[in-house]
């Protein structure tokens, strides 16, 4: 393990973590405002990728990067207005179920329109190739583009929340929507705006991740469970918590994938050789990279045991 490997893995991890944050930011805001865990959030991410892919053929990549999130944001807002809001009076379980239903609907529609296999959503020429090479290890331009977009989004959301009147209303409604409404603010419309905005951010993440990674029907499920982990680990409803947890999980997972070490390889230099005859060989010879997919969930369990409110979460009333 050398410095170049660490630097590049760290950057890959940050880039992936920032991508997770683009998704978890919306999810956690929607949760703390409406008390709804939106199961369909990752579906908006997938729609963003597919919309951008299809639009790219017509209007080119850069316009598609703007139009696709706006279109998905509109779908999100309409879903909130005409579906979620109607079942609101039946309680949170009904709301949860309807977002669950939406995620299946989106999955089926995507498979119907674009097929079950991955689509060839390619990087535009400007984002192909490597940004720099460090001792033979390359850092691709597309990953740095993800970082750039995520940071711009972070700044924009922060300015919106802290410098504008609607941001002030959102901040207050995060804690006490009934009181905000009693002061004469149209809180249902603010909910719709936040839901649509969250969907648009998820779609933007999908549009830039879809060509860096793969655009396929399973992409929503793959990232969906991870962002739930992020939101719980960070503390339900905490934006800063979601930020820290996104980076943490992004970095841990990226490093884990790259580490081909197991307990057996660590014991080797100490003169203890682990052979297939030994009890627990299967476990001892598991490499960290093989365990990478379960690490976030391991993390989730540990957090739920030791800090049930998450890293930066506060008790909810």
């Amino acid at each position: 393990m050398n410095t170049a490997f660490i630097v590049i893995s760290l950057m890959n991890g940050i880039s992936y973590g920032l991508l997770l944050f683009m998704l978890s930011a919306g999810l956690t805001l929607i949760f703390s405002m409406m008390g709804v865990l939106n199961f369909a959030h990752a579906s908006f991410y997938m729609l963003g990728a597919y919309f951008a892919y299809s639009l790219m053929g017509v209007i080119g990549f850069w316009p598609a990067l703007i139009i696709a999130p706006l279109a998905v944001g509109l779908i999100g807002a309409l879903f909130e207005r005409y579906s979620l809001r109607r079942v609101h009076r039946f309680g949170h379980v009904a709301e949860l179920l309807i977002t669950f239903g939406l995620s299946y609907l989106v999955l089926e529609v995507v498979q119907l329109l674009w097929g079950r296999a991955a689509v060839p959503y390619a990087l535009p020429p400007a984002l192909q190739g490597t940004l720099f090479t460090l001792y033979d290890i390359q850092f691709p331009k597309s990953r740095s583009f993800i970082m750039l977009v995520a940071v711009l989004m972070l700044v924009a959301v922060w300015l919106l929340l802290t410098r504008t009147r609607i941001g002030l209303i959102i901040q207050a409604a995060l804690k006490n929507p009934e009181m905000v409404e009693a002061l004469g603010h149209n809180v249902p419309r603010v909910f719709m705006f936040v839901f649509g905005g969250g969907a648009a951010l998820a779609a933007l993440a999908g549009a830039i991740a879809g060509n860096t990674y793969v655009t396929e029907p399973s992409m929503a499920a793959a990232v969906g469970s991870i962002i739930f982990v992020v939101v719980v680990v960070g503390g339900m409803g905490s934006l800063s918590g979601a930020f820290v947890a996104s980076l943490l999980i992004g970095i841990v997972q990226t490093f884990a994938v790259a580490l081909d070490i197991s307990v057996a390889t660590v014991l080797q230099p100490l003169g203890i050789s682990v052979s297939p005859q030994i009890f627990g060989y299967a476990l001892l010879s598991l490499t960290i990279s093989q365990m990478a997919p379960i690490l976030p969930y391991l993390f989730l369990v540990l957090i739920l045991i030791f800090r049930p409110n998450g890293l930066l979460g506060t008790e909810r009333g």
Binding site: L168, Q171, K175, M179, A182, L183, G184
Partner: protein
Amino acid sequence: MLTLEGVHAYYGKSHILHGVTFDIAPGEIVALLGRNGSGRSTTAKAIMGMVKVEGALRWKQQSILYHKPYEIARMGIGYVPENREIFPNLTVHQNLLLGQKRSRSIGRWTFDDMYAMFPRLKERQHTDAGVLSGGEQQMLTLCRTLMGDPDLIIIDEPTEGLAPKIVELVGAYILRLKERGISVLLIEQKLTIAMSVSDRALVMGHGQIVFSGTPAALENAPAVRAEWLEV
């Protein structure tokens, strides 16, 4: 200008208000008295559209039944809930800003009016509201609602947990609202402040109005006080 006629209110299946009838005239201060759990806060929430309601609810000759809370607030009814629901992680100034229904709205009250009335709030305008004392938070909720320029303000137990000196202060401010032509529905448990500032007193018991009259009349009705107010 506000009329309730046979108002019933429910939390889910539990039936809380059983036909509440009263009205409030422009510029009038009406005290709504009663024991814990008699349904006073529910009456306030019923007016604000925050609970399920049946019956007739009119504001300025117009029915407000089935209107949303924000619409009712925009029609000119201000609500100061019990428990001082300030926004603790926002500053005093931001709390006041949220009271305004739109940006730069010009109403009866300005920030300077509020800060002149409560110099303590001016000193602490950039402090998080969550660290204010109970009395200061009470002033802040009152001012926050006033920033929305209501014609009627419903104040739910403003003196709960406050020192006697501050209670007097609250009474004085309520009288100043009346000077500006604002009607007040004052929900109270303490008889003293209610009797000294109000034009009319209503007593509530088991979700109904059981007495309505001047404070003097209530003074002379020991039976009513014994049955519905004293503990």
